[in-house]
């Protein structure tokens, strides 16, 4: 877990790559577990990633967390 907010958002970072066919279910499992055992208001999010397109990147848009 990398951080959490007062509104119940819990951000996680994956320490190892997890393919698209696996990560959705695993993260939803984790969210369900935390909702049942800690607080119903918890939502799991991964740390966002900025645009990797080199041209669009020149716009300098930074993802707001």
């Amino acid at each position: 877990m990398s951080r959490a907010t007062d509104s119940g958002a819990v951000y996680v970072t994956m320490t190892q790559p997890l393919g698209p066919s696996n990560r959705g279910s695993k993260l939803l499992d984790l969210e369900e577990f935390l909702k049942e055992n800690v607080d119903k208001g918890i939502n799991i999010w991964c740390e966002p990633i900025g645009d990797r397109n080199s041209l669009r990147n020149l716009r300098g848009v930074q993802i707001i967390n």
Binding site: M14, P17, L18, G19, P20, S21, R23, G24, S25, L27, L28, E31, K35, N43, I44, W45, C46, E47, P48, I49, G50, D51, R52, N53, L55, R56, L58, R59, V61, Q62, I63, I64, N65
Partner: protein, 382 residues
């Protein structure tokens, strides 16, 4: 107060751009309401995440997934076979990349037509020269060109590196004019339109854009809102759209017999706040990233939304994902109280119109019904 025209009469038929066509696919609405696992009517996708433009309004800037896969021709064609198998009726090449630059572009369109799947494409037309036009235009239902502004300098400033780079405008106009002529010469049933994504700072571009649509002689010029993510990364101030209503009406009034200027009033007037909390639209209109990622909506392509990522069609067959529990788990999550569309996703998704309609339907505010009679243009594109 602007009037939202649900259908706009054109020389080729009625065009619905500021509403939805669910009533023409009512059997799928009925099945969905009965709890069946339905196939999407439409899929919005890209064949790459790459793009040579750098549009200031581009939502793809906030759609970066965990990883990118290169979409090969074979995977793209198999995807269409899977769509046909499950009952997808149309594919729009829009999403988060410029599909015309993909090697799969021409074969994908030709294969879609061969399989009886309607296909449309939104493009900047920079790499869409005569050869590609001739290979693809006869197979497409519509093509919509992204034209950020009607004046070359403004266009180059918004869509490329700066106002001095007007060569990109000239190239786009040459290709669009070629397509218009090719359509006319071959009497093709394809609809050609140009689109402006309106940011609050582009007020002075509204009339020149509408005039360009008229001068080009395209079937329509549409002016739409700009989407933003849930944190306002692109900085779209929706409160400022109201100051432009009079100009937008003036633009619509430039419409003539050949070219209609259409404003997407419903989305613009929603001011970025959806009326729905549950997000039912993706079950009917699925989005696929140019990275190959399958997620219910483009709103969830970014790595942040990894819990809603289903798979990647460059790595496994779409039909297997569609039949899997993970596909339906993601869809069910969006329809559940765990999800709130007002706070947990960006604004004005492509599924907006159908999501409003399905939410009203479920709540009994306005029940959907089967539409009969003459079908509008592009009926299979929700």
């Amino acid at each position: 107060m602007p009037v939202n025209q649900k259908e706009v009469a054109t020389n080729s038929g009625n065009l619905i751009l500021d509403s939805h066509k669910l009533g023409y696919h009512f059997e799928r609405v009925t099945a969905w309401e009965a709890g069946e696992r339905i196939a999407p009517v439409s899929v919005d996708m890209a064949l790459t995440r790459a793009c040579g433009a750098m549009c200031a309004f581009c939502y793809a800037m906030v759609q970066e997934p965990q990883e990118r896969s290169s979409i090969k021709v074979d995977s793209a064609l198999k995807l269409l076979d899977d769509f046909k198998e499950i009952g997808v009726k149309s594919v729009s090449l829009i999403s988060d990349g410029e599909s015309t630059i993909s090697k799969a572009y021409v074969p994908f369109i030709q294969h879609a037509a061969q399989r009886g799947i309607d296909i449309g494409n939104a493009t900047n037309a920079w790499e869409w020269g005569p050869e590609k036009i001739e290979a693809t235009l006869p197979h497409m239902t519509w093509v919509r060109f992204t034209v950020a502004a009607g004046r070359p300098e403004s266009y180059a400033k918004i869509m490329f590196k700066g106002p001095e780079h007007t060569q990109v405008f000239d190239k786009a106009m040459a290709n669009i004019r070629y397509a218009i002529e090719y359509k006319k010469k071959n009497n093709l049933p394809v609809t050609l339109g140009i689109q402006m994504v309106l940011m609050p700072g582009y007020k002075d571009e509204i009339i020149p854009f509408a005039q360009l649509a008229i001068d080009l002689g395209v079937d329509y010029g549409v002016i739409k809102h700009c989407s933003d993510d849930e944190n306002g990364t692109l900085g779209v101030d929706y409160s400022k759209y109201e100051d432009m209503y009079a100009l937008l009406e003036e633009a619509e009034n430039l419409s003539n017999e050949k070219t209609k200027v259409i404003v997407k009033w419903e989305k613009i007037m929603d001011k970025g706040v959806p009326r729905y909390k549950r997000f039912y639209g993706p079950q009917f209109l699925l989005q696929i990233s140019g990275s190959g990622l399958i997620a219910p909506s483009g709103m969830f392509f970014n790595a942040k939304f990894s819990k809603l990522h289903i798979g990647n069609f460059a790595e496994e067959r779409f039909i297997d994902m569609f039949k899997s529990n993970r596909y339906w788990r993601a869809m069910d999550y969006l329809s559940s109280p765990a999800f709130d569309a007002q706070t947990m996703m960006g604004t004005l998704p492509i599924e907006h119109y159908i999501s409003v309609a399905l939410d009203n339907h479920i709540k009994g505010i306005e029940r959907l019904s089967e539409r009969q009679g003459e079908k509008p243009l592009h009926v299979n594109f929700l």
